[in-house]
Amino acid sequence: MPTRTAYEGKVEYLQILDENGVLDEKLAKDTLADEDVRELYQYMVKCRAVDETAFKLQRAKRMGTYPQNKGQEAAAIGSGFAAKRGVDWLVPCYRENAALWMHGLPMHYVFMYWMGDERGSQIPEGVNVLPLCVPIGTHMLHATGMAWAFKMRKEPRVCLTYFGDGATSEGDFHEAMNFASTFQVPCVFICQNNQWAISVPREQQMNSATVAQKALAYDMPTVQVDGNDLFAVYKASRDAIERARAGGGPAFIEAVTYRLADHTTADDARRYRDAEEVDAWMAKDPLIRLKKYLVGKGLWDDAKQAALDELAKQTATDVVKAAEGVPAPGAEDIFDYTYATMSRELEVQKATMRTHSLGQRPEQAGLSAQREHA
């Protein structure tokens, strides 16, 4: 029987700024201008400070469980910067705060959310960001559906959706990839491969050599990038976003990064991973290499750093103040927002939530009981 190759695929790896802060000038061409890099570095430092502050708040019992974003800032910022604010949509899980803030979500909303207040997910009008999504791997279908709507209405918008390496084991991930590819919707899938799904390492999560190759099954353009390299993430994201905007369909980006902190504040990663591994990745921290690059180019110095550290501290303080300054939510909220219009039964439950009475008819609940209007 003659045989032939029915399909052949390959996954390219992109790195532009290495961990020593050395830039590949050729690959960096037409990516980020010096001014952009300096701005984004300062932003990254602020995001890190805010993230560390959230951790401290949790330890001080002023915040509930919080998943730190530490170490993954380049993946969020590089991709977020490539998307158009107010045009494109971001559909997150919970480890890309920096991208959401960049697109207009007030920083303290994320704090409110992890402080147990759903109003942190009451995304302000005009901010094209969906609420954080805690169940793993389910929201990429929503991003696909949204992108599909943009395509149907011929709007030049793109959806970016973020998820981790563990999420690519979920069935919904594959359904989202298949729908996005089948209908060629403008959705960019950004996998932040941070090596750990709580305690299960990537190697135990899948037998695939890369996460990026999963997109080959859906004939989707795919690339693996150094996720701690702002330039590489930006370039891959920009190319994918603009191709999608031009009608070129979905794309996949695997950003290879590392979760420098515990899974959440309720986790202790020392139980399952070696200090050596963490230390090795500490050296690859996106902040360190970006600073090295800027200093090397004469764009940054110690005085600027000191001023920035002060500013970042102030930003974090302001965020805490804003989040803790929000008055406590009213219990009526849980009734008012279950449906657009409350059912009669919900009205009764709302009116009697603290004064249970036999029967709980509207009239007993002190409601104007006009049955014919129920």
Partner: protein, 332 residues
């Protein structure tokens, strides 16, 4: 689709009525789209979406990959982005893979975002037994979804109600699960208005007025109850209520009727234990305790799986069982 001569003469079946509602809503509002397995070229396995793709094109009547969670999840995204999707899950037994999307996402988005993100979609699902279908094609899971805050659950029993309720569901700002009783998809014809009309969700219908006992049902079982009505002694006056929507529930219709009759029999296909009848019985004892002359009775499916079709008729409530329960309740 536009009416045929036969429909004009003989009336519309429940399938015709749903098809007409979809056709007219899609014509009226370009945000309305249908998506699901085999709904396009094939017109759906029950032909409910027959002809729609030809009129509205494959971008509005969409044959999707065979993936229920994918259908539900992308429909959520479409709805959040301003469309009015009407996804079809081919049989109620296949809601399982879509459960997470429906219950953990569609139902919760409004509440968890305090109204910032909403999911106006209508999930159409052929539902219930009685058509000699393969395994897992005959269940009645309505109580699961009525137990999910944020969802509405609608179950028409007649062509007239099916059209008006579907139009109201599509226009509703919240996610609606629209269960279609497949046993009566084509069993009855009815002359119904050709123009668009809405039946508000949450309003039961009194099918027959009576004074001695209230029978409450929904879906195909309403027809079973109607059949039983013909066999009661002439001096027995039974009130028959079709709930039409179980979430939101028309509590007032139930209470008003049972306050009057003092006796109630609830009839549904789903398993008895923790079926929606249990909720109704509780509401009755909460509100009509002093009016009751007999314990509330339930005629329901058994607490077993729905058997494959050789035993299906043994499982489904029939008019004899309804008759028996009514007579016992009256004699109490």
């Amino acid at each position: 689709m536009p009416r045929t001569e036969a429909m004009t003469k003989q009336g519309l079946t429940l399938v015709d009525a749903i098809n007409e509602a979809l056709y007219q809503e899609m014509e009226r509002d370009e945000r309305v789209i249908c998506l699901g397995e085999d709904v396009g070229l094939n017109g759906g396995v029950f032909r409910v979406t027959e002809g729609l793709q030809k009129v509205f094109g494959p971008d509005r009547v969409i044959d999707t990959p065979l993936a229920e969670s994918g259908i539900m999840g992308t429909a959520i995204g479409l709805a959040m982005a301003g469309m009015r999707p009407v996804p079809e899950i081919q049989f109620e037994g296949f809601l399982g893979p879509a459960y997470d999307q429906l219950v953990n996402h569609a139902a919760r988005y409004r509440g968890r975002s305090r109204g910032a993100v909403t999911v106006p979609m209508t999930v159409r699902v052929p539902w219930g037994g009685g058509i000699h279908a393969p395994e897992l094609h005959s269940d009645s899971p309505e109580a699961i979804y009525a137990h999910t805050p944020g969802l509405k659950v609608v179950i028409p029993s007649t062509p007239y109600d099916a059209k008006g309720l579907l139009i109201a569901s599509i226009r509703d700002p919240d996610p609606v699960v629209f269960f279609e009783p497949k046993r009566v998809y084509r069993s009855h014809r009815e002359a119904i208005p050709e123009e668009l009309y809405e039946i508000p969700l949450g309003q039961a219908k009194v099918i027959a007025e009576g004074t001695d006992l209230t029978v409450i049902s929904w879906g195909a079982c309403v027809h079973t109850c109607n059949e039983a009505m013909d066999h009661f002694p002439e001096d027995v006056s039974v009130e028959l209520i079709d709930l039409r929507t179980i979430s939101p529930l028309d509590i007032d219709a139930i209470v008003q009727s049972v306050e009057k009759t003092g006796r109630c029999v609830i009839v549904h296909e789903a398993p008895k234990t923790a079926g929606f009848g249990a909720e109704i019985a509780t509401i009755i004892q909460e509100h009509c305790f002093l009016n009751l002359k007999a314990p509330v009775q339930r005629v329901a499916g058994f607490d077993t799986m729905v058997p494959y079709y050789k035993l299906e008729s043994q499982y489904l409530p029939d008019s004899k069982r309804v008759e028996e329960a009514v007579m016992q309740c009256l004699a109490y």
